[in-house]
C-alpha cells in the first residue's frame, strides 16, 4: 500500500472555527441577520389531503405589526423541486410555493410577514381557512395505483425519466438483474425471504432550518441560509420565483448541523418570496415542531431480501425489492432508493453468482422525505446484514466466518456496483481488526447476568460511496497573498464536519506550508467556484481532488513569477515550500516575495482554480460490533460497547474522522432503539417535538471505540475516500442481531422498543 510521510495529511489538527464555536460567537444565520428583518411565519395545513376552498386573511392583515399575508393566489403557478441535486434534476417538479391542494399535514397554506414574532403568531391565529377535506393515502404499501392520487395535477413534470408517473402515485421505478437470479435461487440449499421496515427518521440537527433574505446594494436577492448546497439553492429559487439566477446570491454562514436535511431547500423560498413582495429583509426560523413535521426526513422503506445460499454458508444470490415512501413530494425519491441495493449487494461480491434489484418509490400524504446521511444505503444494509446474520445463526456458523467466506475483497470487479473495481478495500482487515479489538469470540456467546438480564453481541458490515460518479463537481480556488499565505475558496459547505479544515490541510500539504497559513472561505455563489455542495460523502474525495489540482496549477503560476524574478525559465524553478529555487543554483525567492511581485507590475495571476469529477465512487467500508445488556423482563436494552473499524482510505484528519464515526453510530443507535416517526389516523405526525422524538443523550450510547484500517484509494486526494455517511449504517443490523442473540427473536422493523422485545414472539 502506498503510504507517504505527510506533513499536514493524516494529522489531527483542530477545526479552523473551533474556538469561535466553543466560545459561542455569533456566526450562524440568526446571529448575523439584522434585528429589523421581518419575521416570516407559515400557516400550515392540519389536513393530510385537502383543497383550500376559501382563505380569509383580512383580519390577519389588520393585526398591528403585520406587513402582509400571502396565499396560493399570490404565488407563481410553475412547479419546482426543492431537492438540492446536480443536473439533470432527478426529482419531479411537483411543488408550488403555496399550493391550493395541500398534500400532507404541515403543507404551507399562508405566509405571514410581520414586524415581530408576536404579531406574526397572532395573525396566524386569525386566518380563516375553509378546506374541502379529502381522503388521504397514509399507508405507503397501498399507494401505488391507489385510486386516490397525491398529485393529480396536470402540470406535474418529471425532468428526468426515472420510471415515475403522478397518475400511479409513482415517483420512480426500476428493475435490474445480473445473471439468472431465478435459476440460482432454485439451485440453492437455503432461501431466506424476509422483509424489513425502517422509518422516516428525522435528522434533528440542533439548528433547525432557517434563512435570511434581503436585497443587496445592486438590487439582487441576497440569501443567507443554513444550507449544504448554495448553488442548488440559487437554481431552485430562480426556478420557483421566476427570476434570473444572476439576480440571486446565496451564501451560508456556519451551519448548526445538516446530515442531509439541508440538502433540500426547505426554508429558503418563503422569506425570499416575502423580500421580493415587500422589498424588505425577511427571516424565517423553523420551530422545532416545524422541523419535525415539515422537514426533510429519511425515506421510510420496506426492503424485501431473498437470499439464496448453500449449506456451507456460500451466499450465491441476492434479490432485493425496495418500496420507498417519498411522502407528499418527490425530493430525493428517485435517487435514495437506489442505494438500498447498490450499496448493500456489492458487499457479497466475493461469492455472488447473480443478483436482482427492483424498486418502486411512491407518493403518500405524509411528510415529504429527503436526504439523510446514509441515503438509502442505511435501510438496505439493515435488511441485508440482518438476513446474513440470520443465515449464519441458522447454519450455526459464526457470523464473522460467514462473512469471511463471502465478502468483497480488494481488486474484485463489482457487478452490483456499476462494474467498478474495488481498488481500495480493507473490509476484510476491518472485520479481523474489529473482531480482535471487540474480543468477539469471548463476547459472542450469550451470558446470563442474573435477575433476567443477559449480555449478547451482534455485528454488521457496511459500505457507502465517496461521491456521485460522473455527476458531482467539486471546485476550489487557491490564491497566494503577499505575505506568503494562501486563501482557499470553496463552494462546499462545512456543516460542522470540518471540511474547511481538511481541505486546508490538503492545501498545506501541497504547498508545503502550515495549516495556519491557509484561510478558508465558503460558500457563496458570488465568490466561490461552482461546487455541487456537501452531500453524498463527496467533499473530501471530490472537492479535495479539486484542491490538489488547483494547488498544482498555482505552483506553476508561482514558478512563472519566480522565473521572472530569477531570470530563468519556469521549468528551471523548483518549488520548495517556503522558497522557489532556481535549479542547480543557490538562487531562490521566498513565496512571500513571489506574492509581493504578483501585486507589482505583474501579468501572471497567482491564483488557480480547478474542478473535479470522478468516473468512480470508491466505497468506504466499516464493521461495527455491539454488546448489549438486555433485560428480558422489561425489554430494556442498554448498549454496553459499540466498537467499529472503518476503512475510509487515508483519513485526512483522524480526529475528525473518528468524531464522524462516533456521531453516526450514536444516531444509528437512536434509530434502532427509540427514534420513531408515527402518524395518527388523520395523518398528523405524532413525534412533533424533541419531547416526543427522543434522540440519544450521553446516557444512551454506552462506550464507543472507533479505529481505522487504511487502504489507499488511487483516485482520491492523498488516498482518501469518504467517511460522512457510512458511519450510520452498522448500528441497526448489529443491535438487531444482539437482540436476537439475547431473545431468540428477529426484529425486522426499527426502532425495536422494550415493549416489542418483551411481547415479541419467535417466528417459524
Amino acid at each position: 500500500m502506498e503510504q507517504k510521510n505527510y506533513k499536514a495529511i493524516n494529522k489531527s489538527v483542530r477545526k479552523k472555527d473551533a474556538m469561535q464555536l466553543l466560545l459561542g460567537k455569533p456566526v450562524y444565520t440568526e446571529d448575523i441577520a439584522p434585528k429589523d428583518a421581518l419575521v416570516v411565519k407559515l400557516l400550515r395545513s392540519s389536513h393530510a389531503n385537502a383543497i383550500v376552498n376559501t382563505i380569509d386573511t383580512k383580519v390577519a392583515k389588520l393585526v398591528p405589526g403585520v406587513v402582509d399575508v400571502f396565499t396560493w393566489e399570490d404565488v407563481p403557478n410553475e412547479r419546482y423541486t426543492t431537492a438540492g441535486q446536480t443536473y439533470p434534476e432527478a426529482s419531479p417538479y411537483d411543488r408550488l410555493i403555496i399550493d391550493r391542494h395541500v398534500r400532507c399535514v404541515g403543507d404551507v397554506v399562508a405566509i405571514v410577514a410581520a414586524e415581530s414574532e408576536k404579531a406574526a403568531n397572532k395573525a396566524l391565529k386569525t386566518i380563516k381557512v375553509n378546506y374541502e377535506v379529502l381522503e388521504p393515502v397514509l399507508d405507503f404499501r397501498t399507494a401505488k395505483d391507489n385510486s386516490i392520487l397525491v398529485h393529480p395535477e396536470d402540470n406535474w413534470v418529471a425532468p428526468c425519466e426515472v420510471g415515475g408517473t403522478n397518475k400511479r402515485n409513482l415517483v420512480a421505478s426500476e428493475n435490474s438483474e445480473y445473471g439468472d437470479v431465478d435459476k440460482v435461487l432454485a439451485d440453492c440449499d437455503i432461501v431466506l425471504d424476509r422483509t424489513y421496515h425502517t422509518k422516516a427518521y428525522n435528522q434533528a440537527m440542533m439548528e433547525t432550518f432557517r434563512t435570511y433574505t434581503s436585497y443587496d446594494r445592486y438590487g439582487r436577492l441576497h440569501v443567507i441560509s443554513s444550507t449544504q448546497i448554495v448553488f442548488h439553492v440559487r437554481r431552485i429559487l430562480a426556478h420557483a420565483l421566476g427570476i434570473p439566477k444572476n439576480m440571486i446570491r446565496v451564501e451560508k454562514p456556519r451551519i448548526g448541523g445538516g446530515f442531509g436535511a439541508k440538502q433540500t431547500a426547505v426554508s429558503e423560498v418563503y422569506p425570499a418570496f416575502v423580500t421580493m413582495k415587500t422589498g424588505r429583509p425577511a427571516m424565517l426560523v423553523f420551530t422545532r415542531e416545524e422541523a419535525q413535521i415539515a422537514g426533510s426526513p429519511r425515506h421510510e422503506m420496506d426492503v424485501r431480501v431473498k437470499l439464496g445460499a448453500n449449506k456451507d454458508g456460500k451466499i450465491r444470490v441476492l434479490d432485493l425489492y425496495t418500496l420507498s415512501n417519498s411522502g407528499a413530494y418527490g425530493e430525493h425519491g428517485p435517487t435514495t432508493v437506489g442505494l438500498s441495493g447498490h450499496k448493500s449487494i456489492p458487499m457479497y461480491t466475493g461469492s455472488l453468482e447473480a443478483h436482482r434489484f427492483n424498486y418502486d418509490v411512491v407518493y403518500t400524504n405524509t411528510m415529504a422525505a429527503g436526504a439523510y446521511r446514509g441515503y438509502g444505503a442505511t435501510q438496505g444494509i439493515f435488511a441485508l446484514e440482518t438476513t446474513v446474520n440470520e443465515l449464519a445463526e441458522m447454519l450455526n456458523m459464526d457470523p464473522t466466518v460467514i462473512r469471511e467466506k463471502n465478502m468483497l475483497k480488494e481488486g474484485m470487479l463489482m457487478p452490483a456496483y456499476y462494474n467498478e473495481i474495488a481498488s481500495a478495500c480493507a473490509l476484510d482487515k476491518c472485520l479481523a481488526h474489529c473482531k480482535e479489538m471487540f474480543e468477539w469470540d469471548k463476547r459472542y456467546p450469550v451470558r446470563d447476568m442474573g435477575n433476567g438480564k443477559v449480555r449478547a453481541a451482534g455485528l454488521g458490515m457496511a459500505m457507502q460511496g465517496s461521491c456521485i460518479s460522473n455527476l458531482d463537481v467539486g471546485s476550489a480556488t487557491v490564491k497566494l497573498n503577499d505575505d506568503g499565505s494562501y486563501n482557499l475558496v470553496i463552494g462546499a459547505a462545512d456543516m460542522g464536519t470540518g471540511c474547511d479544515t481538511i481541505l486546508a490541510q490538503m492545501v498545506a500539504e501541497c504547498m508545503d506550508c502550515t495549516v495556519d497559513d491557509v484561510t478558508v472561505f465558503g460558500a457563496d455563489t458570488d465568490a466561490s467556484p461552482y461546487d455541487s455542495g456537501s452531500y453524498a460523502s463527496s467533499t473530501t474525495y471530490i472537492t479535495g481532488k479539486a484542491v490538489e489540482k488547483a494547488c498544482e496549477e498555482l505552483k506553476k503560476k508561482m514558478s512563472e513569477v519566480a522565473a521572472g524574478l530569477l531570470d530563468c525559465s519556469s521549468d528551471e524553478i523548483v518549488f520548495e515550500g517556503k522558497t522557489l529555487r532556481k535549479i542547480n543554483s543557490g538562487e531562490s525567492v521566498t513565496v512571500a516575495e513571489v506574492g509581493v511581485k504578483s501585486q507589482l507590475n505583474n501579468d501572471i495571476i497567482t491564483q488557480a482554480s480547478a474542478s473535479h469529477s470522478s468516473p468512480v465512487s470508491p466505497p468506504p467500508y466499516m464493521v461495527g460490533m455491539v454488546e448489549i445488556e438486555l433485560d428480558k423482563m422489561t425489554g430494556e436494552v442498554k448498549v454496553i460497547d459499540f466498537m467499529s473499524v472503518v476503512d475510509c482510505g487515508i483519513p485526512i484528519n483522524p480526529a475528525l474522522a473518528r468524531i464522524q464515526a462516533e456521531g453516526g453510530i450514536v444516531q444509528g443507535i437512536g434509530h434502532t432503539l427509540f427514534e420513531n416517526i408515527t402518524y395518527n389516523e388523520m395523518g398528523r405526525p405524532v413525534e412533533s417535538s424533541l419531547m416526543q422524538y427522543r434522540i440519544p443523550t450521553r446516557l444512551d450510547m454506552g462506550n464507543l471505540k472507533v479505529e481505522f484500517e487504511h487502504s489507499f484509494e488511487p483516485t482520491g486526494p492523498f488516498g482518501a475516500k469518504s467517511i460522512g455517511e457510512i458511519v450510520i449504517n452498522t448500528p441497526a443490523p448489529a443491535i438487531a442481531h444482539a437482540i436476537y442473540r439475547a431473545t431468540g427473536v428477529w426484529h425486522r422493523e426499527i426502532p425495536i422498543t422494550p415493549e416489542q422485545i418483551v411481547m415479541g414472539k419467535p417466528d417459524n
Binding site: 408576536k118 403568531n121 435477575n451 433476567g452 423482563m633 422489561t634 430494556e636 432503539l673 427509540f674 408515527t678 405524532v686 416526543q692 427522543r694 440519544p696 443523550t697 446516557l699 444512551d700 422498543t753 422494550p754 415493549e755 418483551v758 411481547m759
Partner: protein
C-alpha cells in the same frame, strides 16, 4: 408560547391567593410549561420570593417548600439518607440538571401529572400537602382532589422508620417513564405506588395480607400478580396497557425483593 399581560411577584401568600381567585390568573412554579402551552392569561403570579425554597428538617419531619427544585431534592443529604436515595433515584433521569434546577416540587405535586416520578415516590412516603387555605391533607387525599384556586405551600414528609425502593422503565434514559413504581415499608406496612399507568399514580396496600408472613420470593410473586390485576393501565405512544400490566409485576417484584433484602 403562553402569553399574559401582567406579571406580579407576590409580596405575601395572601396577595398571591387573592390574585389567584380569578380564572384568567395563574401561579407559576418552575415555569417549564411556558413554551409548551398556547393559552393566554391576565396575570401571572410569581411566588418565588416567599421563602418557599427551603427544606426544613427536624426530628419529626421534613417540611419542604413548594419552590424547592427537583435538583435540591436530588442532592439533599437528609432526604436521601432517609429514603435510601429513592428520591434521588426518582428524579435523576428527569431531562437534565438545568431542567431539575427549575422544576419545583410544588409544581410537580400540584400538577398531579400522570407521568410523574416525583408524585410516585412521595406517595410511597408518609407525605402531606400543606395548602394555604385548605390546611394539611395527606398526599393520597390531595391526589384525588380537584384542582382549585388554593396555593400549595409545603410538602411534609413524616419521618416514620422507613425502607423505600424506587424504579421506573424508560424507553430512552431521560424520557417520560413507561411505568413508575415505588415501594416502601413503614410500621410494618408495605405500600406500593404505581405511576405513569399512564394515568396518575395510585397507592396500594397489602389489603389481602399476602405479605404479612414476610417478604419472600413466593409471597412477593403472589402479591405482584394480585397487584397487577388491580392496577388499571392504559395505552399511549410509550406503551400499551398489556405491556404496562406486565411491567407492574416486574417492577413490583423487583422493588419488593430489594425492599426485603432478597437481592
Amino acid at each position: 408560547m403562553i402569553t399574559f399581560q401582567k406579571y406580579v411577584k407576590a409580596a405575601d401568600l395572601e396577595e398571591a391567593y387573592s390574585l389567584n381567585q380569578t380564572r384568567k390568573n395563574r401561579i407559576v412554579g418552575g415555569m417549564l410549561w411556558l413554551r409548551l402551552g398556547n393559552s393566554s392569561y391576565n396575570t401571572v403570579i410569581d411566588i418565588s420570593d416567599l421563602g418557599l425554597d427551603r427544606i426544613e428538617e427536624d426530628e419529626e419531619q421534613f417540611r419542604i417548600g413548594a419552590m424547592v427544585t427537583l435538583r435540591e431534592l436530588e442532592t439533599h443529604k437528609g432526604l436521601n439518607d432517609y429514603t435510601g436515595s429513592a428520591i434521588c433515584h426518582a428524579v435523576k433521569d428527569i431531562i437534565g440538571v438545568q431542567f431539575r434546577n427549575m422544576a419545583t416540587l410544588g409544581g410537580s405535586i400540584w400538577g398531579r401529572f400522570g407521568y410523574s416520578d416525583v408524585l410516585t415516590v412521595f406517595m410511597s412516603l408518609d407525605t402531606y400537602v400543606e395548602l394555604y387555605k385548605g390546611g394539611i391533607v395527606s398526599l393520597a387525599k390531595f391526589v384525588k382532589m380537584k384542582r382549585d384556586n388554593d396555593i400549595l405551600t409545603h410538602i411534609i414528609v413524616k419521618k416514620k422508620p422507613l425502607k423505600c425502593v424506587y424504579d421506573a422503565v424508560r424507553i430512552q434514559r431521560t424520557d417520560f417513564p413507561v411505568l413508575t413504581c415505588a415501594v416502601s415499608e413503614m410500621d410494618g406496612e408495605v405500600r406500593t405506588v404505581i405511576g405513569a399507568r399512564p394515568a396518575k399514580a395510585r397507592l396500594y396496600t397489602d389489603e389481602k395480607g399476602l405479605l404479612k408472613e414476610g417478604l419472600t420470593e413466593e409471597s412477593i410473586r403472589a402479591y405482584a400478580k394480585e397487584l397487577s390485576s388491580k392496577v388499571p393501565t392504559g395505552s399511549n405512544t410509550r406503551g400499551s396497557a398489556a405491556y404496562r400490566s406486565r411491567l407492574v409485576i416486574v417492577l413490583a417484584e423487583r422493588n419488593l425483593k430489594k425492599l426485603g433484602g432478597l437481592e
